[in-house]
Structures are given as C-alpha cells and as structure tokens.
C-alpha cells in the first residue's frame, strides 16, 4: 500500500476502524475497478496532508467480502467515514480531490 494510508482486513476491521479514536475513512476498492485506481493517489495525498485528523484505510473487497457486505457496499469506490464505530458519512463513486475535501470538511 501507499505510505500514508493503512490497509485493513476483515480480521483487523474492529481494532483499526471500529475502535479507532480518530475518524477513519475506509476506501472500499478492488483491482478490477478503474475508478478505484484513479482515486487512490488522491487519497494518498489527503491522508498525508490531514494525518492528524483522519486515518485513511484501504479495504480490498475481493479479499474481504465480510466488511463490504456489512457496510452495505454495492458500488465501488465507496468511501465510508467511521466515527465512534458508526458510519457517519458515505461517499459513492470516484471524485476529484476538491470535491472530496469538501465532502470531508466536517472531519479535516
């Protein structure tokens, strides 16, 4: 994975996302998803620039079907912001950096 984002799995989801004291943005992605690949570098930048306020975690839906199903993800990329163990915001589809920063303004 990139330097500023972390990788989460079905196994680590509880510890890394649900129990995190900072908000966590989970990026649900897959290899075969073009728009997911396009948004990946944008997320790396945002993760690096706002590391103190927000953790960005990548979850591969092929390898981790449970987490994706639990979150009700039916379209990727889906970016779900978890705070206090709950999904507080869902962003569906690839968006340019400016758009994402605006969507995440409550958190960063």
């Amino acid at each position: 994975m990139g330097q500023s984002t972390i990788t989460v799995t079905d196994a680590s989801f509880d510890a890394d996302v649900i129990k995190s004291d900072k908000p966590v943005l989970v990026d649900y992605w897959a290899e075969w998803c073009g728009p997911c690949r396009m948004v990946a570098p944008i997320l790396e930048e945002i993760a690096a620039e706002h590391a103190d306020k927000l953790t960005i975690a990548k979850l591969n839906v092929d390898e981790n079907p449970q987490a994706a199903a639990m979150a009700g993800v039916t379209s990727i990329p889906t970016l779900a912001v978890y705070q206090g163990g709950q999904v507080v915001k869902m962003i569906v589809g690839a968006k340019p950096k400016q758009s994402l920063l605006s969507d995440l303004s409550d958190f960063i």
Binding site: C33, G72, V73, T74, S75, K97
Partner: protein, 321 residues
C-alpha cells in the same frame, strides 16, 4: 501567467485523443487535460469493445484507451491529469482554469468532454445511489451476485449491461417504455436467447422502492397507466447519456438538449478558435469510432484556424522586417 499554447484539448475519450494525435503530429504541441477521475472517457466503463474497426478479436475498453493515450504521448502531446473547472473562450486568447488553480492560455481550444449517464430523475433514485441503484454494470455488477435485478432501457447499452449482469445476477428484468428494443439485432438476439433475461415491456419506472437499500421498483404501464411493483435488489439505469456541456454553457451555442452546436459537418462552434467533437456534439451516432473521426476533424479545423491566424499577421511582420 504561463505561455500561450496553440491548442488546448479538454477531454480524453476517443475524440480527445484523436485530436491530440493529429495536433501533435502537426507540431502544435497540444496540451490536453484528462480528468482526475474521468480520464479515458466512456470506454473505461465497458469491457469488450467488439465494434471498433481494426481489432478483429475485439479489445477491452481500458486497453483501447491506453493505446490511444500512448499514441498521443508518442507524438508529443502533453497530457495533464487534472479537471477543467472553468473556461473563458470568448476572447482571442482562451483561458482554461484547472482544479489545481492554474490558468492556461491558448489560441484554440478543442472541446471533447463527452457525455454522462442520464438519470431517471427520481428522488429515490438519487437517494439510493450506491445502495442498489447504479448506472454502470461493469463497475458494480460484482455486488449483485445471486440477486434479482432490473436494467432500465432498450438500447444497445441497456442490453449489453443486462447481458453482462447475467454473469452475476440470478435474473435480470429489462424494463423498457416501448414494446420493442432499439438495440441492434445482434444484441437483441443475444438477450432473447439468454434464459436469465426477461422483459417488462411498455413499462416506465414510477419509483424506486426501499429504505436503506433498493428492495423493488414501482412500474407504470405506458399505455394503461396501471402500476405494479416488482421485487429487485438492484437497478441499473441505462437510458442514455447527456452531453457534458456545463463548462461552456453561456459561451458556446448549445441546442435544446445541451449538445454543442457546430457548423454543418465541421467542428466549428460559434466562437472563433473553439472546436467541438465527440459525444459532446453527436446526438445521433455516439460511437467510439465516430467520436474518433470527429476528433480528427477538430484537429484539422484547429490547424487551419491557426494557419489563418499566422497568415493574417504576416503582412504586419513583413512590413516591420
């Protein structure tokens, strides 16, 4: 401010890349903006492209776009991955501002922004987007394994999506307003032969049902007005495309539906030095190959325009020599 370029190309589908190849080979050093998340255009969301001439065995959409991109780069096109957020095309020197904040200037601009998915326009369609409502089968089909889903539409795209989705779904109901498909004979034939595909004819979507996610559709008979509900957990909207002309509204002349107007069979818009091609202009054909053809025309029109500008300046240059 940066130097004044000869040509800026906005858009990176087959129209944009063909324009890039031709203008690059004409030594015009084109500057192209490919969107940060929309680079490659509509074909990035399709799997096999079987009808683009020159590929006897077919080619995957993203692979075709990668080839076009490499070809443009080979001849010297400068491609920047950023989104154009505003333009001023009304003066001789056109201004193009991008997401990063920079403004670029050029003597000519080629508009190739293409089109975007048309939505049904229902509130619940928007609300449930990403929770059972999708406009892209190849993107989201994966999540509908073993489910009963619906595809709205009657053209080639709808049938292609429906057929693709049978790889995942248990059943696909094609919902169409008329009693026969607009799709090509070969596509319609494949759909008819597919056991998993059934049809709801003369039907339009009155509403999308479901709280946290899609649970069904309310259909209305287009002839009798009678309504009925069907149980589906996925809805793929494939009813066509709308031109992405928001960037140039108020500057370039558009028709009633938002398509950019061009002179006859050229790519000339109402603004000198501004050329438009691809699905941004084309209501009628909207194929990758027709887009590519018009991208070439735009490049040639731009080249002629720039040569005429030079000729106009030459007497001045000669006089001062």
């Amino acid at each position: 401010m940066s130097e004044i370029r000869d040509v800026i190309i906005i858009g990176s589908g087959p129209a944009g890349f063909t324009a890039a190849v031709y203008t690059a080979r004409a030594n015009l050093s084109p500057l192209m903006f490919e969107g940060s998340v929309t680079a490659g255009g509509a074909l990035m969301n399709t799997t096999e492209v079987e009808n683009y001439p020159g590929f006897a065995e077919g080619i995957m959409g993203p692979a075709l776009m990668e080839q076009m991109r490499q070809q443009a780069v080979r001849f010297g096109a400068e491609i920047v991955t950023d989104d154009v957020v505003s333009v001023d095309l009304t003066s001789d020197i056109k201004q193009v501002t991008v997401g990063s904040g920079a403004t670029h200037q050029a003597k000519s601009v080629i508009l190739a922004m293409g089109s975007g998915y048309r939505e049904l326009g229902l509130d619940n369609e928007k609300r449930l987007s990403g929770r059972g409502v999708s406009w892209c089968a190849t993107c989201d089909g994966f999540f509908f394994r073993g489910q009963h889903i619906a595809v709205i539409g009657g053209g080639d795209s709808a049938i292609e999506e429906a057929t693709f989705l049978t790889k995942f779904a248990d059943s696909v109901t094609v919902v169409h307003r008329r009693d026969e498909l607009r799709a090509s004979k070969i596509m319609a034939g494949r759909a008819a032969a597919n056991d998993k595909i059934s049809f709801a004819w003369n039907s339009e979507v009155a509403d999308v049902l479901g709280d946290e996610k899609v649970s069904g559709l309310r259909l209305r008979d287009t002839q009798t007005g009678h309504e009925r509900d069907i149980d589906v957990t996925g809805v793929f909207v494939a009813i066509g495309h709308d031109p992405r002309s928001e960037l140039v509204t108020g500057q370039v002349d558009l028709d009633d539906e938002g398509y950019v107007l061009v002179e006859g069979r050229s790519t000339l818009t109402n603004l000198p030095g501004v050329f438009a091609c691809g699905d941004l202009v084309d209501h009628t054909y909207r194929q990758a190959i027709t887009a590519a053809g018009s991208g070439c025309a735009a490049a040639l029109d731009a080249e002629r325009h720039l040569a005429a500008l030079e000729d106009a300046l030459r007497p001045l240059a000669d006089a001062t020599a």
